[in-house]
């Protein structure tokens, strides 16, 4: 699937309830809007942030933040 192991963050918007923990934990990649819903920085996650990104995904109370391989059709 993902040739060189690139991963991205994705939000399951139906699940997300706007707790905003992800934005607090990972401000490098996630802004929060006025209602504490995430605004993700586009593109694959930098290698040195992968660990923090996984931790943010694990801590989401709604399991709405997903760290996943970049799908093949999204790659150049």
């Amino acid at each position: 699937m993902s040739r060189n192991g690139e991963r991205r963050l994705r939000v399951d918007w139906v699940r997300c309830d706007g707790y905003g923990l992800c934005g607090d934990m990972l401000p490098e990649l996630i802004d929060l809007d006025e209602w504490r819903f995430p605004i993700l920085r586009a593109g694959p996650v930098d290698r040195d942030l992968l660990h923090d990104a996984q931790r943010a995904a694990d801590c989401c109370p709604m399991k709405a933040l997903i760290l996943e391989p970049v799908p093949a059709d999204r790659r150049r």
Binding site: V11, D12, W13, V14, C16, D17, G18, D33, E34, W35, F37, I39
Partner: protein
Amino acid sequence: MRTYPITQRLLAGTPMGGAAERLGAHVARLGPLPGDRRRDIIPSLEASGLLGRGGAGFPVGRKWRAMAERRHGDAVIVANGAEGEPASFKDRVLMANRPHLVIDGAILAAEAVGAGEIVLYVGGEHEAAVAAMSRALMERGDERRPPLRIVTAPVGYVAGEATAAVHYINAGDARPTTTPPRMSERGVDGRPTLVQNVESLAYAALIARFGEDWYRTAGRSETPGTGLITVTGAAEQQGVREIELGTTVGEVAAASGAGSHAVQAVVLGGYFGTWARAEDVWDLPLDPAGMRAGGLAFGCGIVGLLPEGRCGVTATAEIMGFMADESAGQCGPCVYGLRALGDATARVARGRAEADDLDRIERWTAQLPGRGACHHPDGAVQLLASALDVFGDEFNRHARMRRCSVTRSRLDVA
């Protein structure tokens, strides 16, 4: 001088607004779906250049081929006639008048891609369409075809969104679902599902009979063929027309009894579309490919004519309020962000803007798109962004001076 409507294909036959065409009349007029053409309908559709008419404008032939070449599973066809877009009438008019063309197209799709079931998803509030489609189904009796059922769609703008349609058919819940999985892989009853707008299906049924070359004889610009549009607003004759694609906005307006002097701005593509100044688009061909290249959308074919003397800010606020009301209520950015955008726009329109409302509108407009299970907020935001461009001075005047120059009124006096 040409007479309008320029061309009649889907709407040929007895005039609209009477009774639905019966099976006998339909077959007498067009003949049955020819058996020998069904096998090569996909190449024929690809060569025809037919684009989907639900709004996205995806090539129909390519969509069918992708489904036909799937690896496994018995597929399902959903003929989408929910038509939740309030400014659009073309799908309900088509179904109410030419139900057998739609059913022909759905059967054709099922045979072409190897589908074992067809669902006709018809907007429940379009009563004439539901009645015509049900009766048409009864008339067709026990012909050889996959099982076919009607599901009436609930009222609502997003009920016609493709994943919402599948969700409703599966679980009675007309709210969009998160993708993946894609419907082409797991849709109705977990089976690969092709969701196609009813107008697209009806054209496919004509192309199966008369061929791609016939279809391509029409079309005055980039996109070949003909299409249904709905004309609304400052026109004496509002309603559904079939046009040769590439017909200009001005020609459509003139044919509908609206002169250029009477029209201030035009909304193209519907509530999901864009505003443009009348003078900028008067000579614009209504052509899906050309419009897309120009950053506009043919969408589901709406040509909304805003009359002189009607405030564009207020018209936009009404649409934004409607779009916020029509949120399925699932995704936070849509529930809160779109609502906030609608409220701020309404305050501006009424001359009750708060100090930073214009800045808020700009910020929310930038941060809302792409943050939801479906594209409902994206469409609303695109419309608002175009309104800020076309009516920018008026937005400023409403917000800062609390005046409307169109209605020549002060807004801050009770």
